[in-house]
């Protein structure tokens, strides 16, 4: 860790809701020497007295930073990948990045879709040495499991206090906006925020012909006294906003909620609300439903299938890469490269429990590489500051100090989290199973968005030499077959890729 000196020059700083955890005033020129003490969202670059440039990003990944090296050897960096491309880093697509995106809907870890552009890892300080090497200095690794756990009641009380503190630190002075799905995570954030501020909660609907969660979000809004606004998302909104939304992302996010997120942030901005709270983080940290298939796979499948099971659990194209990718791209791809990225997490001895290993990789991958960059960049575009209390550093650290059977207790998901906030919410919300927000992509791509998808994919993506045209045609014509074709999800994933390539890769000067 660099020693704090008066001669440190701050070069880049993006910080939100930051404070020192020892109560001392936060002065960034000094804080960069002790980043482990800083709570909040930050990405920072500075130059030390020896002229070396340092880059760092907060331990959870609320803020992003990217870097690369110009052909003349000069390192360049920026808060968005767009900045690094503009600075003259040679552009070539990374086959592993493409395969990762198609398998998971994001690009985990330090890779991006561009071979020469890397993401600064969360909780790591990078130092550009004068000899051209890039040194890595972790300053806040995810905590290992403790040798012994506190009892359930103690942990419940600690979790409640930590949640209250996290939400309070992230509240603005005036009214606050919040996303509200009606699940336990966003509901508890609304409930805690409402105790201190007026809350304007936003929910998504896709029209009466499609299933939504409004029954639950309305219940929470009534219960907590939050103002409730329902945002209607129509296929025409997708056509209007897809490029604008995806173009704001440094790494494409292929899940279908990006456009609804954009609309929601724009609505908050239009109401004059610039801080938007969300419930992201509850699933990865507290034993959410996506662990269940992996536990079953571990039971039935044995060790050989671990990496594959993790990649398959994203329910995208992992099992179909052989058919999807062009022969040229397959030839350039090391088939084991993605498994090799997963493997260390699932074998890490810092976490004896399998569930905690899943939590670790999900915080590092889905948190720092998927969820948080999505809300960060879409918020930046819309002019709002998204804040994620359940991904607060202290909340995440506490999650690692909770035994796995208090996260998933029998078949109850997020057991301790539910116990910690049960008094704040209607019983029906605490007890209901997680269902996930169902974006009606199947219906959309069979109907109103079919033409749009065909034009984009056959007229665009098919010509890039990444994806087999014949496979795309089978996908669009619903001729893929198989037990769960998931056609709509796959079309959305590929539309996102094409949109990102058009708006970021092709067009950044």
């Amino acid at each position: 860790m660099a020693a704090p000196t008066a001669s440190v020059d701050l070069l880049t700083l993006d910080a939100d809701a930051c404070s020192r955890d020892d109560g001392a005033p936060l002065a960034w020129a000094e804080a960069v020497g002790d980043l482990a003490r800083v709570r909040g969202a930050f990405a920072v670059a500075w130059q030390d007295a020896d002229g070396r440039v340092h880059l760092a990003r907060d331990p959870i990944g609320h803020r992003s930073m990217y870097w690369g090296v110009r052909p003349d050897g000069t390192p360049v960096w920026g808060l968005r990948l767009h900045d690094v491309l503009r600075a003259g880093v040679p552009r070539a697509l990374d086959p592993v990045g493409i395969a990762a995106f198609l398998s998971t809907a994001y690009v985990p870890g330090e890779r991006t879709l561009v071979r020469g552009v890397r993401a600064v890892p969360a909780g790591v300080e990078l130092v550009f040495e004068r000899d051209g090497r890039v040194a890595r200095r972790p300053f806040a690794a995810l905590p290992a499991s403790p040798p012994a756990f506190d009892d359930e009641e103690t942990l419940r009380a600690r979790l409640r206090a930590t949640l209250e503190d996290a939400v309070e630190r992230l509240l603005p002075d005036g009214p606050v906006a919040a996303t509200l799905s009606g699940g336990i995570d966003s509901s508890l954030v609304v409930a805690l925020a409402r105790r201190a501020r007026p809350v304007h909660a936003f929910s998504i609907t896709f029209g009466p012909e499609h299933r939504d969660e409004l029954e639950w979000s309305r219940l929470v809004a009534r219960h907590t006294g939050a103002t409730h606004e329902e945002i209607l998302v129509r296929p025409a909104d997708v056509m209007r906003l897809l490029d604008l939304t995806v173009g704001a992302l440094s790494v494409p996010n292929g899940d279908p909620l990006t456009v609804p997120n954009t609309m929601l942030f724009e609505a908050a901005r239009a109401r004059g609300l610039d801080v938007v709270l969300n419930g992201e983080g509850g699933d990865p940290c507290w034993g959410g439903p996506k662990n269940a298939p992996l536990l079953l796979s571990e039971l039935y499948g044995g060790h050989d299938a671990r990496e594959d099971a993790y990649l398959r659990s994203h329910l995208k194209l992992w099992d179909e890469l052989g058919a999807v990718l062009t022969p040229e791209l397959r030839a350039a791809l090391d088939e084991d490269a993605l498994r090799a990225l997963v493997r260390p997490w699932l074998e890490d001895a810092r976490w004896p429990s399998f569930l905690d290993r899943l939590m670790a990789i999900n915080v590092a991958w889905k948190g720092a590489g998927h969820i948080l960059p999505k809300v960060e960049h879409l918020g930046l575009r819309a002019g709002v500051r998204p804040r994620s209390p359940l991904f607060d550093r202290d909340v995440v650290r506490l999650a690692f100090a909770v035994p796995p059977d208090l996260k998933r207790h029998g078949s109850t998901e997020k057991y301790l989290l539910k116990r910690a906030v049960a008094d704040l919410l209607p019983e029906a919300i605490v007890d209901r199973p997680k269902s996930g927000m169902m974006v009606p992509v199947e219906a959309w791509f069979q109907g109103p968005l079919a033409r749009f998808a065909r034009d984009r994919l056959l007229g665009g993506l098919a010509r890039r030499g990444l994806v087999e045209r014949a496979w795309l045609e089978r996908l669009l014509d619903a001729r893929l077959g198989g037990l769960r074709p998931r056609r709509g999800v796959k079309i959305w994933l590929l539309l996102t890729l094409e949109s990102w390539l058009r708006r970021v890769y092709d067009t950044a000067p």
Binding site: R408, M438, V439, L483, G488
Partner: protein
């Protein structure tokens, strides 16, 4: 006869040494030498049972698929000879001034021709297990093992890391499918049914052996568990749901809901082409109505007769509708099961 590898069509004399003159590949079967099926028909059975190579299947599925293949034409143009003879004979009889004889010849030979044609096109193989296994071995010798065929249990590793067992054993799941046969369990597991649907899968008699005790104990941690019994239309299969509810080592005395998904005789009877005939007295049992006992005394149907893709999709659909359709434990998903199943996927996503 066409080659299953290259599609080259060859005459019998050209297939010296049972090799394709087009690609040199070996034929597994030679109908001219008495085999009941040719390579293309066997290959089509594989394609059908695996839904174009996308779905894993059991040996039982393949047996049913091959048995349903249409027998190859073994008479060729000779099948049309009765029609020709009938017409020519009729013309001669008319010429001889005997219209009655002409009509008799026409009717007789046309009837014979029609019977031969129908018989030739609709003659299922009706393979016994040993006969099917012999055909399968010859297919493997010539073409290799079908890639989506599920290996028998002895061929697969079956160990569970003891260090993880105690952790995993403290969790539970919301749903479980319990089958009457290990083969059905293997079919579901090989097609990731457990993974896709967050549900445990076991057989009543203890399969998969290496996790059976652990998983069954896990299920008992969840008082709100939903159990789906999946079985052949056999006397034992139709008792499965009842046994699950009434045996103490399963769910007796619990509030667990047990649904009988399939196959009850009422469901099986709607698929007459898949039935087996039998003759057996079926004892009275509280799980069986008199009508079902009567039916089971005459017929059987195995789940393996269903195309695996359809079986899995129907099960998925039945499981997702049955708790709503059934007012209490028991059937109630009959219409869901017997109607055509389709995949219906939304784009689930997290919104915090």
């Amino acid at each position: 006869m066409k080659c299953a590898r290259c599609g080259h069509d060859s005459k019998y004399p050209e297939r010296a040494g049972r090799k394709c003159p087009g690609c040199g590949g070996r034929f597994a079967f030679e109908p001219r030498e008495g085999d009941p099926i040719n390579d293309v028909a066997f290959d089509k059975a594989l394609d059908w049972v695996s839904s174009g190579g996308t779905v894993a299947f059991t040996m039982g599925n393949l047996h049913h698929a091959v048995a349903r293949r249409i027998a190859p034409k073994s008479f060729g143009c000779l099948l049309y000879a009765p029609f020709v003879v009938g017409i020519l004979g009729g013309m001669v009889a008319v010429g001889a001034g005997r219209p009655g004889l002409a009509a008799t010849l026409l009717l007789g030979f046309f009837g014979l021709g029609a019977a031969l044609l129908v018989g030739n096109k609709r003659r299922p193989l009706g393979l016994t297990v040993p006969a099917f296994q012999a055909l399968y071995r010859r297919w493997v010798d010539a073409h290799g093992r079908p890639p989506k065929l599920i290996p028998p249990p002895a061929d697969r590793p079956a160990q569970l890391d003891p260090a993880l067992t105690s952790e995993l054993a403290s969790y539970s799941f919301d749903r479980a499918v319990i089958c009457d046969r290990a083969e059905t369990v293997d079919l579901l597991l090989a097609n990731d049914f457990h993974f896709e649907n967050n549900c445990a899968v076991l057989s009543f008699d203890g399969h998969p052996r290496h996790v059976f005790a652990t998983v069954r104990a896990m299920l008992r941690h969840n008082p709100r568990l939903e159990v789906f019994a999946l079985h052949d239309a056999t006397p034992f299969g139709c008792k499965l749901a009842w046994l699950l509810r009434h045996q103490p080592d399963w769910f007796e005395g619990t509030e667990v809901r047990v649904f009988d998904v399939a196959l009850r005789p009422g469901q099986a009877a709607r698929q007459p082409r898949l039935l087996w005939r039998t003759r057996e007295d079926v004892e009275k049992h509280p799980a069986l109505t008199d009508r079902e006992r009567h039916w089971l005394g005459r017929y059987r149907m195995e789940l393996a007769a269903f195309r695996p893709e359809q079986l899995v999709k129907r099960l998925f659909r039945a499981m997702n509708h049955m708790p709503e359709a059934a007012s209490g434990d028991g059937g109630g998903g009959d219409l869901i099961w017997t109607s055509e199943a389709t995949a219906s996927d939304g784009g689930a996503d997290s919104f915090g």
